[in-house]
């Protein structure tokens, strides 16, 4: 059984079809990439998985259970974590408090939440800044915080939404290292990304979409050489 799969996933906003009949599967332990030009519907897919938008038609299954209609917070409890493209730090809390707030989804006790939060912060190499107010962080650290917060809920599947955007090459390399570390710790990952070399390096499988529709699915090598993919990115003038 696949850890995660969608079947004919479709989302329409009135007359505009943002996600059109997407079907793909993600196996446990994979890093699965979702790419496509700007506006192709990638974040919408995440919003559907995450429960932000109701699905128009099609299904989403996680560990064999159908996710349709569950509210966002329940989907988190079920084991799917998510980061946002435009990071959403809880600005007036410290780094530690941010992650503790997440960790409380696993426990009601403060000491336990605190320990879990510190553990996650160490994993994300952010522990030295635990008492910094979140709003004072650099963009790189905010992204780490975003990931740490998602990890503190103990997810089995992590949705990463354009984590690399706005980072320096050095920071990107560190990001890639962290993502691999996350996968190695047993978390499956679906990653939306724009930066090609990151995606090609990290992912086991890739789905490329445009206008909400699939245009290619396969290994990085297969997708990179796919004509439709190349056209989608370069062809339209």
């Amino acid at each position: 059984m696949n850890l995660f799969e969608t079947s004919h996933l479709t989302k329409a906003f009135g007359g505009l079809i943002a996600v059109n009949d997407l079907t793909f599967q993600v196996e446990k332990g994979q890093i699965y990439g979702l790419i496509g030009p700007n506006g192709s519907g990638k974040t919408t897919v995440f919003n559907l998985i995450n429960g932000y938008y109701p699905i128009t038609s099609g299904t989403i299954h996680f560990e064999g259970q159908e996710l349709n209609g569950l509210p966002t917070w329940k989907i988190c409890k079920v084991g799917i974590g998510r980061t946002f493209q435009i990071v959403k730090p809880l600005r007036r809390m410290t780094v530690l408090e941010n992650v503790m707030a997440s960790a409380f989804s696993l426990t009601a006790k403060q000491e336990v939440a605190r320990d879990k939060a510190i553990e996650v912060l160490e994993f994300c190499e952010l522990v030295k800044k635990q008492d910094y107010p979140a709003k004072g962080l650099t963009i790189g650290d905010r992204k780490r915080l975003e990931i740490a917060r998602a990890l503190a809920t103990g997810p089995k599947l992590l949705l990463l939404d354009e984590t690399m955007a706005g980072l320096t090459p050095q920071e990107q390399a560190e990001g890639v290292k962290l993502i691999r570390k996350i996968r190695d710790s047993g978390v499956t990952i679906i990653i939306v990304e724009h930066i090609m070399h990151v995606i090609m390096n990290l992912c086991d499988l890739i789905l490329c979409i445009n206008y909400g529709q699939e245009i290619a699915q396969g290994t990085p090598a297969e997708v990179a050489n796919n004509r439709a993919v190349i056209e989608a990115y370069l062809g339209k003038e």
């Binding site: 917070w73 988190c76 730090p89 809880l90 809390m93 707030a101 409380f104 989804s105 403060q110 107010p133």
Partner: protein
Amino acid sequence: MKTMRWSTLVPLALLVVFPAIVQSDYYRHIFIIALMWVVIGSSWNLLAGYTGQVSFGHAIFFGTGAYTAGLCVTKLGISAWWGMLLGGPVAALVGLFIGWVCFRLRGPYFALATIAVGEIFRIGATVWRDLTEGMQGILIIQSFRSKIPYYYLALLVAGACVYAIYRVINSKWGYYFVAIREDQDAAESMGISAFRYKSLSLLVSSFFTGLAGAFYMNYMAFIDPHVVFSLHYISIMAILVGIIGGVGTLWGPPVGAFIMVLLQETFRSSFFGLLPKWVSEGHVLVFGLLVIIVIRYLANGIVGDWPKISQLWSKGKPLPSATAGN
């Protein structure tokens, strides 16, 4: 439990011995009212300052608590003191209902909805004479001639309220409330049901406000819809207490309550008789000016922006930005 600091113990001790030191019923009355506002302001602050849901309708819960106590006498023929037991839970139930209706609205729309519901309650209580005696109000016989029992009861309720909020803030709930305030969407992604926790916050908030209302019925012995469901005298006053004292802080509302009530009384009595009569009309003007100044320059209230204020007093060195709340 953490050991309490001197800054907490000393005022508390003073409050406990206050009636022994001050014999005047007039001043005791002012402090009783101030203690009542500690409860209302702190409750409002839990929902607004900590959870980010700015209610303009807390009069709903106050009035519900007050009328629960009043109706004990007029409809059930029992003492209004039973209202102290019932007022909180009844107000909390009303709170749940209002949350269910209004929490789907965000930010300013939520505030507007609470104004509307507050007015509906006020008009309803005025018109539904069979239930509430309408504008005639409910009059009961005061149980005690002396202010002292009422004072200590008010102190007890205020203390319980602040303590309860203290425990809530420093628990999982507290983290969840602030997360919702900071970013509701992010909070949902962290496994927090915004609706559930907003409702829990409102439950505690409305419970204590209702309790304050029931106390008011017993203490003042007279209520009518115009006073206890008032947008200006209750709902907006609660907001003023919260913001001037300091939203999102534990001690902000208690400080705000005493400041506002003392200020109000100072003006109403024309500075205790020292200034000409027309000054007595000025307290609302002063409140308005305070609001303007605080929002413009001291957005986190007197307690929240205390570093800023003490900076004005000390000469020279600016204080470093200490807290996350700056």
